[in-house]
Symmetry: C2
Subunit: 113 residues, 2 copies
């Protein structure tokens, strides 16, 4: 039986969903591996579950937006991800779209029409 907090939490999660791709692409302009990427996102205020992050990374790689490399560092093997050229271009487009959506939201919520 969901109470008000559960409801808000549900909506909050839904609101965050679309921004995850943008956040991941943005963070991967600098090379990172999964664990630190996740930490960066959490620090920036967008925590993401591993179960959501890794499939997302694989999808973005399959779509050619990022590349990954399995490499040893500090005695451990880690998979390093980095934005591709296509990814950089798409990130730019998505940011424009994001700004446009932001404007729409402002138009719809800041004025009574």
């Amino acid at each position: 039986m969901p109470n008000d907090d559960d409801l808000f939490e549900k909506l909050r999660i839904e609101l965050r969903r679309g921004s995850l791709i943008l956040a991941v692409l943005g963070a991967l302009r600098v090379e990172r591996y999964g664990y630190t990427l996740r930490a960066s996102l959490e620090e920036a205020g967008l925590p993401i579950e591993e179960g959501a992050l890794y499939p997302l990374l694989r999808r973005l790689e399959a779509q050619g937006l990022l590349t990954s490399e399995w490499r040893e560092e500090g005695k451990r093997n880690k998979r390093f991800y980095r934005l591709s050229a296509d990814g950089t271009r798409v990130l730019g487009q998505l940011l424009e779209e994001w700004n446009s959506i932001s404007d729409s939201i402002l138009r719809l919520t800041e004025r009574k029409q």
Copy 2:
């Protein structure tokens, strides 16, 4: 076989998803019926299909965020929707969350870290 444009379109749609609730709640601070609501959203830059809008409205009503009333106007029966008190409160919370997400996106995309 998806080309670059299809890919971007897919991501664009995904990016927009979460903002729909916010847009609908924002637009319904003023009473509207489905058709004009849809027109308002499109005008604001967030077009939404009927098949997405009506189920969304029903869900939001089931969650108590808005109320609806079946009423005649201009010789036609129309279902009018309006934000409830709970809806107003949740809209405020979601807007805060939206701003917080926006800040996170900016942090992640405008600076190289």
